[in-house]
Symmetry: C2
Subunit: 327 residues, 2 copies
């Protein structure tokens, strides 16, 4: 019997999950839940579109709910609430608030005997797993994570809030020389400014003060002031033509010393290059949804992260197959 999945929230990520389910024949999408009027939401599959209010009616029809809300305000509320009714997966990515989110979700899931897997995606998620794996191997070493080249939704949104800006896309770009320095094993200390640059493509409103926009972006605290930022003004057509995708990527590098007097330099690198950030995250969510259902079947309860799940649970194939073909 296939794994019955619900999608809660139907934006870029929710659509990505819908496509990912099609690539996993042991899973099936049964319903998409939306806060919008369901009649206005067109999905790319035969799944029913249901108002989020009615999610409780689906308790016995869904094995695991993949929650595709935003980390700022949606997930802190949605994940604990839904974990009381379903096994759930989310991609909560506000790193600093993970311990708090974990505690809330764990309490809700344990109360009702569900499994919840939080912060599933690539960072947090696959990158976290790589950080852990490389740290347990190279105990004496240094870690580096670089993001990009890719579109940061948060930074693009921040630019759109600047006066005179009609639309914008922001790319986070790793500095190649910093990546090389990290790989070298010399364990450089790299500042925020040395690691990434920020590249902004901005459509100004008609008659806007371009110099002022550029100044407002470059001096924006938290988002841009600690970076070397470039601002490019383009037309709406150019933005649509050249910057409508959501590519991303990044690198997790750890270098370390082993052996007699630490004389051997060892380098571990994981990197990804994505045409579509949300589709990639979605694929990871579906693999962990499979794991969650299996864990639930074994009687496991409470909140888990990628650290707590044995890799074999992620694959549709059994142990014999995995050992024969992938080990």
């Amino acid at each position: 019997m296939s794994i019955r999945i619900g999608i809660y929230g139907y934006g870029n990520l929710g659509r990505g999950v819908e496509y990912a389910i099609k690539q996993n024949p042991d899973t099936e999408l049964v319903a998409v839940f939306t806060r919008r009027d369901p009649s206005t939401v067109k999905v790319n599959s035969g799944a029913e579109v249901v108002s989020a209010d009615k999610v409780g009616e689906w308790k016995d029809k869904i094995d695991v709910m993949i929650i595709c809300g935003g980390s700022a305000t949606d997930l802190p509320v949605q994940t604990p609430a839904l974990a009381k009714q379903f096994n759930v997966i989310d991609s909560f990515d506000t790193h600093a608030r993970i311990p708090e989110h974990f505690a809330n979700v764990d309490a809700a899931a344990k109360e009702t005997g569900h499994i919840a897997v939080i912060s599933v995606g690539w960072d947090p998620g696959m990158f976290s797993l790589q950080r852990l794996l490389s740290n347990v191997i190279l105990r004496d070493g240094a870690d580096y994570t670089f993001w990009g080249r890719g579109v940061s939704q948060g930074h693009s949104d921040a630019i759109r809030r600047v006066k005179g800006v009609k639309d914008a896309k922001q790319y986070t770009v790793p500095v190649e020389s910093a990546v090389e320095a990290a790989r070298s094993g010399s364990r450089p200390e790299l500042s925020t400014r040395q690691k990434h640059t920020r590249e902004c493509w901005v459509v100004p409103e008609e008659g806007a003060d371009l110099a002022q926009i550029e100044h407002d972006i470059k001096t924006m605290p938290n988002y841009f002031s600690d970076y070397d930022t470039t601002v490019n003004f383009i037309t709406e057509e150019e933005l649509k033509r050249d910057h409508s995708g959501l590519p991303h990527g990044g690198f997790v590098i750890r270098t370390g010393s082993t052996g007699e007097n630490g004389k051997s330099n060892q380098v571990i690198e994981y990197n990804i290059k994505l045409d579509s950030n949300p589709e990639f995250t979605a694929c990871i969510l579906v693999a962990y949804a499979r794991a969650a259902v299996r864990l639930a079947g074994e009687g496991a309860k409470g909140c888990k992260t990628v650290f707590d799940i044995a890799p074999a649970y992620l694959a549709p194939e059994d142990g014999d197959f995995l050992r024969a073909h992938m080990l």
Copy 2:
């Protein structure tokens, strides 16, 4: 209380484990077991050196035995035998024989209630984990594993068996253009010859027929005949000066398609660059030794691989720490 580790077999890998234990303060090396006369074995720590015959006397003094024998003839015998008396870890790396080795070790470990983790290292091991992780994410895709640039002990040994060869080292070298083609997402079919070249550094015996040696190496079935092989003759001094290390490395690449009509190309790459192959393998063994002892403490029994162990078990830190600092 620290994890009490025994090392069974004291070659390059055993010495690497000894150094790795020093980098992991929650572990302690209690004894090194050797088939040689213990009085002739000098270790780099305060550990007792014990004859392999007497291993049974150490049953209650060791939490986990790291078996550092060879895969061809040692481990198929040693791991099942020792799994009857100890929790054990090995780095069995004959891929084709893993299912058989797993079955033998599983039966032995279950019979006596021990935990065994086999095929721990980087390939099999970390590379296997990366193959599994990238396959569960990118269901529609292609896998590529490249090894090197690094010393292959098996191929170096094969050259040493050629008539007229006094000593030799063989480097496996990935073909850069093949690595690039794999990364591109075009899913090329790559032949054995296209993926790697083999570079041989050979010290001939005095008066040996160099042309014959070169011919014998290049036409050797399984080892060299399917590859573009170069043979370089050098002196014993040059071999010692320039080729005494055991560097290695490699790449695991998976590319795949996601989204609507598979239009997004996604690339995942894991790569390592090692000054010392055995020291790196040793570090992985120690991390899995920690996991084995924890699993045993929870009552788990039988044979496991890297696929069966949740990553959190590998780290000395607890879940709260890992979530706060690595997720």
